[in-house]
Each structure stands twice: as C-alpha cells, then as structure tokens.
C-alpha cells in the first residue's frame, strides 16, 4: 500500500514537473523573441524602401527588399569617416589599454616592492571619487585635448579594475619559470614580454574584448570633448545625433507626430536603420564566438574580486 502511494506521488511530481518544463520553455522562447525583436525590426527597416515603412504596418519582412539605404551609407562621407574613426579608436585604445594595464599588473605582483601599498592606493582612489563632468572638461581643455583624437584613447588607457583582474591571473602563474629565466640572465622586460604575457593569453583576451566593446560603444567623450570636429565624429555619436534630430521634434509641442512625419524625407528611417546595423553588426557578429571570453572575465572578477 505504502509503496503504491509513493509511486502515485512520484507520478504526480513528474506531471507537475513536466508542466513546469513546458511553461518554462515557452517563457524562455518568448523572452528570447523579446530580445531579438528590436534587432529584427531594424534589419527589416534597413532593407525596406523609405515609402514602405512610414505606414502603420507590422512588417515581418520588407515589402520590397532593397539595398538603397546601405548604398546611401557607403557613399556618405560622414558615415564613412565616422566608421574609420570608430575602428581607429577601438584598435588604438585597446592596444594602449592592454599594454598599460598589463605592465602595471605585473609590477603589482611584486609583494616585496617598497611603496607598493602607497602606489596601489594612488591608483585605487579614483575608483571611489571623481572630480565630475565639468572639472574633467576644464582639465581636457587645459591639456589641449579638446577636438583631439588622443582624448578617445588616453583617458581610457588605464583601469584599476582590469589591472587587478590581470594581476590575479599573473599570481597564478608558476613562479619557477620566472626564476629559471632570471637565473639564465633574462631581464625583467624580457621575462614579462616572452614568458608572462604569452602565458596570460586568456585574461588578456578578455580584457582586450571588454575594452574593444567599450571603445566601440563610447560616445560621451565625443559629444563633450570633440563636439565641433566633424572629422573626429564616431559612429555612435553619429547615431546619437540622428536620435537627437528625432527627439528635437518633441519640443515643437503637441504636434510631435506630424513633425516626425515631415522629417522622414530629410532623415529617412531606413538610413537610420542601416546606420544602426553598421553600429551593431561588428559586436553581434563577433559576440557568439567570443562569448566564453566575456563570461570568463566576469568569473575571474567575481571569484577573486
């Protein structure tokens, strides 16, 4: 009797469990669709004709597929320049960041180094207190970095957070190799460049990826420090300005709807959509393959942080 009862309970559980599994799967699929929907919406718009998308339709696919918006983008000097600047700042900024952080991290592994605590404190304090937007602006002005490409890549050159993550990784490298190299007469620079760095590829890849995404996505420094130089505009800021031209129409009062309607001719949604694709594509294309490095970085930070 008792055994039968137990069997019944188990059956009941498995039914409940199965119902839960089905609901959970449905929920997850719905959630993923919610995430993907905006992406798909931009893709559809970017391949649509301008006259097709200003109507009240729910388009799962473009009415007529066209590359017009992309053709426009690839002929527009402003967009091409912005793309080049974005790529440049991503490459240069990431290289500087990785080199500066790795060098600092290597030094911070020397526990017996005099003044190590003082130096760490100097590097750490800005994490908790910053001067703020206006003093930073005045400082850039004083340094002559306004409307200067360097303002994209120098202030982001160092991050104590990434440095600590790299340092923790360096700590896990076997000290024996370093000592052996040292006995063989290798200099510190040489040990760093030809032993430590190659052994730390995973953590360097992670930090570099983070920085690449950060550089590619940055726009605030463009808006504040390089507002007036058209040849230093990044892709993100260009998109932001397209958004601005949209939001500006709200100030014209209650007739915001009409205002936007009339703007379609001058700044078509399709071109905005195509630009959005240009902004998003590099990240979305690379991301699934490198996801493990992104996640790995968080783990390193979380476990040892």
């Amino acid at each position: 009797m008792a055994r039968e009862k137990e069997k019944k309970v188990r059956m009941k559980q498995s039914v409940g469990s199965r119902v839960f599994d089905i609901c959970n799967t449905v929920f997850m699929v719905a959630f993923c669709i919610t995430i993907l929907l905006p992406f798909w919406d931009v893709v559809v718009r970017s391949f649509s004709r301008a006259q097709d998308i200003s109507y009240m339709h729910i388009n799962l696919f473009p009415k007529v597929w066209t590359l017009d918006a992309y053709k426009y983008c690839f002929q527009d000097n402003e967009i091409i320049t912005a793309f080049i600047i974005s790529v440049l700042r991503t490459v240069v900024g990431t290289v500087i960041h990785v080199i500066v952080c790795c060098m600092a991290a290597y030094s911070l592994t020397r526990t017996e180094m005099p003044f190590r605590r003082v130096i760490t404190a100097i590097l750490l304090i800005p994490m908790f207190f910053s001067a703020g937007m206006i003093p930073a602006y005045l400082n850039m002005k004083r340094l002559g970095l306004l409307n200067n490409f360097l303002v994209y890549v120098l202030p982001t050159g160092f991050s104590i957070y990434n440095t600590i993550i790299i340092r923790n990784y360096f700590f896990s490298i076997d000290k024996g190799m370093e000592e052996a190299a040292s006995i063989d007469g290798a200099s510190q620079v040489r040990i760093f460049a030809s032993i430590i760095m190659p052994l730390s590829k995973p953590v360097i890849a992670t930090v570099a990826l983070w920085q690449m995404v950060g550089q590619w996505n940055a726009w605030f420094d463009n808006m504040v420090y390089c507002r007036r130089s058209a040849n230093l505009t990044t892709l993100q800021y260009l998109l932001r300005r397209m958004l601005d031209s949209l939001t500006a129409s709200t100030s014209t009062g209650a007739s915001g709807v009409e205002a936007i309607g009339s703007m379609v001719d001058t700044n078509p949604d399709t071109i905005k959509a195509a630009t959005t694709i240009l902004v998003v594509l590099p990240i979305v294309a690379v991301y699934p393959f490198l996801q493990k490095y992104f996640v790995q970085g968080i783990m390193v930070g979380a476990v040892k942080g």
Binding site: M28, H57, S107, R110, A131, L154, F158, N217, I260, V295
Partner: protein
C-alpha cells in the same frame, strides 16, 4: 617595505634599486591617473568660486558656499534629486527580483543546448551602447510606423498613434523595461556562477528524501544564492544617488524632463549646455560626496555581513 629584514636606509636603497624596472612599468598607469583623475580635482575649487573663463581656475574669486546655497534653494534641484532617488529605487525593486527569478528559471532548463542558446541571446544586449538601445526604443514606440503603436491599434486598445516617448508619465516604465531588456541576461551570470558551485550531492540527498524540484530550489538553491544576493544588494545601495547618465540621456527629451531628469543629466545641461560651470560643478560635487559616503557605508555593511568580502 623590508618586512623581514631589519630596516635601514641601505636596505631600502637596495630594494628600490632591485625594483627599478617595476617602477618604470608602473609609470604609464601613474601618469594617466594623475593626468585624468587627479588633475581634474583642482577644478573642484570652482564649486566655491565665481568662475570666469578669462581668469582661469586659480584667478577667479572665492565666493564660499554661494553655489551650494543657490543649489539648496533651487526647486529644480529637488525635482532632479527626487527623480534620481525614485529611478534608483524603482530600478532596484524591478531588477533584483527579476534577476533572481530569471536565474532560477534558466537554472531549471534541463536541455543544456537550449540553455546555452538562451544565455547567449539574453546576454547580448549588454554589449550594446545605450545610444543603440535608445534608437531601438524610439523606433519601436514611434507614432509613425512603430511596432507597438501598430499592435495596439490593431487590437483596438488605441484609436490613434500615441507618442509614448513624449508622455512624461511613461518615462519611468519605459526606462525600467529598457533597463531590464538590456541588463537581465548579464546580471544572472554571477548568480549562475554561485549555483554552479553548489555540491550536487545535496540535490541527490534531497531527492532520496522525497523532495521535488520546487523544494530543492527553495531549500538548497536559494539559500546558496543568499550571500551573493546580500553583496549585490549592498553594492546597489551604494549607487543609490547615481543614476547613470547614458540610459536617461538616451531615453529622455524636453517633453519628459519633469519626470526623467536626474542629477547627472542636470549637471550636463547646466554645465555643458548653459555653461554655468561653477554651479554645475557644485551639483556634481554634492553628488560625488554623497555617493562616496554611501559606498563607504555599504562596504562597512558588506564586511559585517560577509567577513571575507573585500573590495579588491
């Protein structure tokens, strides 16, 4: 320095010389920090000065707490402060439970392939800038051809397109939903890491004792997540007064200033747009001092709650 050896100037000199390459390695980092973190701090003086661009930071006259007095009698400031606190608290109240529930649901997915697909997709928006997210939101909610308006009209809920982004009562819901859309997938990672550290024999033992899935979640998984939850909650409290600039700036517009404007966007408009450098430096300083105090308090609590917790 010289922890084990008897201290002496000779010894220190020897240690210093031994570490010369390492100091050189640190030099770029130190120079960058001084240039871009410490040098701007001199500019904080203008919060107490009548800043004239022609006379520079040093040359301008001191005015004491004039700007702070102006600040605390400025009705706009209280509105902005109120918005900041409101948005932070609502953000905390939505993201926190959603993250926990979503973590548990993802953890219950049995098919590992499906699980990793879900994680890959939901994690992706984290790598987009708020400019892009703002573009998405404006476009989805657009009164001319936006999907949301089209659906609502088809369902008969609206009879004509509504310009959602210009409704001041809609800002906070739109902000919260956009924020969840962007951050949920990313924020579960740390909790999933905690769950993966749970000893599986505990679940096996529970099954033998007749526990079902729900029991196991309630009595094993959730308690294991508790320390991480505490740490995250405390860290969130530390940033209560600093709503990020990016999300608000890319979602608000003149029509929604009343409900959307937060301290950082107010500082930007007063300073960069209206060029009231001294006044907006004062607002920024107020915010930074309060948030520093909150972070210190939060850290103190975090250490009390979990003695192993360290900020670095």
């Amino acid at each position: 320095m010289g922890k084990t050896k008897t201290s002496g100037t000779g010894n220190l000199k020897k240690e210093l010389r031994k570490h010369v390459p390492f100091y050189i390695f640190l030099l770029p980092a130190i120079i960058l920090v001084i240039l871009f973190c410490y040098m701007p701090m001199e500019g904080l003086m203008i919060a107490f000065k009548d800043y004239k661009m022609a006379r520079g930071i040093e040359g301008s006259d001191w005015v004491g707490f004039k700007h702070f007095q102006a600040l605390f009698t400025d009705p706009n400031f209280y509105r902005v402060l109120g918005n900041t606190l409101k948005i932070s608290i609502f953000t905390l109240l939505t993201t926190f439970p959603v993250t926990i529930i979503f973590t548990l649901l993802v953890n219950e997915i049995m098919n590992t392939r499906f699980k990793s697909v879900v994680q890959t997709i939901t994690y992706m928006p984290h790598f987009l800038s708020w400019v892009v997210v703002g573009t998405f939101v404006y476009q989805l909610l657009s009164p001319t051809g936006g999907v949301v308006n089209a659906i609502l009209i088809k369902m008969g809920i609206l009879d004509r397109p509504l310009y959602f982004m210009a409704q001041k009562d809609m800002f906070i819901p739109i902000y919260l939903i956009s924020n969840l859309w962007k951050t949920t997938g990313y924020s579960i990672v740390i909790y999933l890491a905690t769950i993966s550290g749970i000893d599986t024999s505990m679940y096996e033992a529970a099954s033998i004792d007749g526990a079902n899935r729900f029991h196991k979640v309630l009595h094993i998984t959730l308690p294991a997540m508790f320390p991480t939850m505490c740490t995250m909650l405390i860290l969130n409290i530390g940033s209560l007064i600093s709503v990020g600039f990016d999300p608000v700036f890319n979602l608000y517009n003149d029509a929604t200033y009343q409900t959307a404007d937060v301290i950082s966007t107010y500082v930007y408009r007063k300073g960069m747009v209206e060029s009231r450098y001294d006044f907006s430096t004062a607002i920024g300083l107020f915010q930074n001092v309060v948030s520093l105090a909150l972070v210190i308090i939060a850290n103190w609590f975090a250490r009390k709650a979990n003695p192993e917790y360290k900020i670095i």
